[in-house]
């Protein structure tokens, strides 16, 4: 069981520079290639610019989540505005809950992404399930 004293710990990404290349690589990977009037990222691209916050949580040696047995259980996003090439986005993730349920552990991670003008871009909540080894 992960120590609940880590609830409240937060992680911040470096500014993520959104490029046309990165958006197009994502669109090609998921197969979502329809063109809008101007290039904008598919909304779930939030997982790309925010990914380093998730990575920092998963690799935090003190929190020591059992990532080999971690699966993504649930995900919520809210989008305040579309993301385009040239955006610089910083995402902050906060570990907000660790709960035991039957033979599983549920970890809640809440994220807020903001642009270079400190305006909101998107919010996210991830629920991770760690199966007991």
């Amino acid at each position: 069981m992960t120590d609940s004293r880590w609830v409240g710990r937060s992680y911040e990404t470096a500014p993520f520079e959104v490029t046309e290349q990165s958006i197009r690589a994502y669109m090609a990977a998921v197969g979502d290639v329809a063109e809008d009037d101007e290039l904008m990222a598919p909304p779930t691209y939030a997982m790309v610019y925010g990914f380093d916050a998730y990575w920092q949580l998963w690799t935090d040696q003190e929190v020591a989540l059992d990532v080999a047995h971690l699966v993504h259980g649930e995900q919520r996003f809210s989008f305040q505005r579309p993301v385009r090439p040239g955006d610089r986005i910083r995402t902050t993730g906060r570990l907000t809950a660790i709960n035991a349920r039957n033979d599983m552990e549920l970890v809640t991670f809440e994220l807020k992404a903001r642009d270079a003008e400190d305006q909101p871009v998107s919010d996210g909540t991830a629920l991770f399930i760690i199966r007991k080894a």
Partner: protein, 147 residues
């Protein structure tokens, strides 16, 4: 893409479904594009040692498919305001997953539409459920209501 007309949306309406055939190559491509190189998605023996049947697709790849079904229908990615759902089952290479959606409600005042979503595999098992997307349409142009 052409933006959907809000007036054409009605509760109970089904969205055009979207089917995707998931391959090892696509999972690798998603890992590269997203940065998520967790070995449970890339390394067959690691995945087995973690108690999985083999490599599994990222849950976020399935959610991206659900996102695409909704934004293809909306005809404009900027209309999508929220997306939520549960990863109810594993997706593995070779699976054919189908995204389905239904308009749950429509508010003429806020011009918001709520869509219920589910993604099933070729055996009819839900791999993403309790999905909900919300879209907001731009304000109506005044020309149609000229005095």
């Amino acid at each position: 893409m052409r933006t959907l007309d809000f007036e054409q949306v009605s509760p109970g309406q089904a969205l055009p479904p979207l089917t995707k055939h998931v391959t090892v190559e696509q999972i690798r491509q998603y890992a590269e594009a997203s940065g998520d190189r967790n070995p449970i998605h890339l390394d067959e023996s690691f995945a087995r040692s973690a108690g999985l049947p083999g490599v599994i697709a990222h849950g976020m790849l399935t959610m991206a498919f659900a996102n695409q079904m909704v934004t293809d229908w909306l005809g404009n990615r900027s209309l999508l305001k929220s997306l939520h759902g549960r990863f109810a089952g594993m997706v593995v290479p070779g699976d054919d997953v189908t995204c389905s959606g239904t308009v749950a409600s429509k508010d003429d005042g806020t011009r918001r539409v709520v869509i219920n979503l589910v993604v099933t595999n070729q055996r009819g098992e839900k791999v993403f459920n309790k999905g909900v997307a919300e879209a907001e349409f731009p304000p109506q142009r005044s020309s149609t209501h000229a005095a």
